[in-house]
Symmetry: C2
Subunit: 153 residues, 2 copies
């Protein structure tokens, strides 16, 4: 294989996030706090053909297994995603995302008067609706572009 | 190949940016104004093994050839990068980046009193130094994290 091919080898240990809605891969990296600066091997495919979805994104991260908090937020921006935990080159666990009933501490409220956005040490809490999320403090509803409100690192 | 493998096929027409300094791939996408939302097929590898560089990043973009302006800024954050223009699956052109003497309109000056950052319609101009860039108006020197000062889209 020439050096001009992107070599995407199997990962030994880590996570493959597959069936991400097309165009959301960079938001997935943002949720995971990944920008490549820590030296971990990462592969990203955007708008790749998929039998099931037409087009999809896919992210492979070496040496990292997702936390439940991270999975919860992923489910909001990439509801069709599947998560495969890889150990010693084999799929050790396979998860389909389920929307949580609430997400705590991972989204920031867009209402600048909300108690969670001030200097008080109050963690954000959002109830998950069919088509968005609602702040449990000020009842602001966020429907579009949830990725822009992610505060978890 | 299973669906859990990232399929990175040859691109038919587009650009392969290879030998990007490890950890800079997302900044390269930012310079190119690419976030996957326009449906173009993109592959990104971060921290992949390289004979020449130890580790490197690589970006493949389907259906896009870089402009000279984009190449100029790329040379500042990814000075070792090579650019391969692909047409009909073949490498049609191969470029090594050269640092320009100046970059016009692509970086924003960090000095909030600089004439280029106010409401005047004055385009930024930076002289390229060995280890950074210098604003031609206010002489502010930027050495670190040039990527944070990119204003081109």
């Amino acid at each position: 294989m020439s050096e001009h091919e992107l070599r995407v080898s199997k990962i030994r240990n880590g996570t493959v996030i597959d069936h991400i809605r097309a165009g959301q891969a960079l938001n997935v990296l943002a949720i995971l706090g990944i920008d490549g600066s820590e030296g971990e091997a990462i592969s990203v495919g955007m708008n790749v053909p998929s039998d099931r979805m037409g087009r999809k994104d896919i992210v492979k991260v070496e040496g990292r297994e997702l936390s439940q908090n991270e999975v919860d937020v992923l489910s909001l921006i990439a509801p069709d995603a599947t998560i495969n935990i890889i150990r010693e080159y084999e799929v050790a666990e396979k998860h389909r995302l389920e929307r949580p009933e609430r997400v705590v501490g991972v989204l920031s409220c867009p209402n600048s008067n909300c108690i969670t956005t001030g200097s008080e040490p109050v963690e954000s809490k959002f109830e998950v609706l069919a088509d968005g999320v609602r702040c449990e403090y000020c009842e602001t509803i966020v429907r579009d572009d949830l990725a822009a409100h992610i505060s978890v690192k």
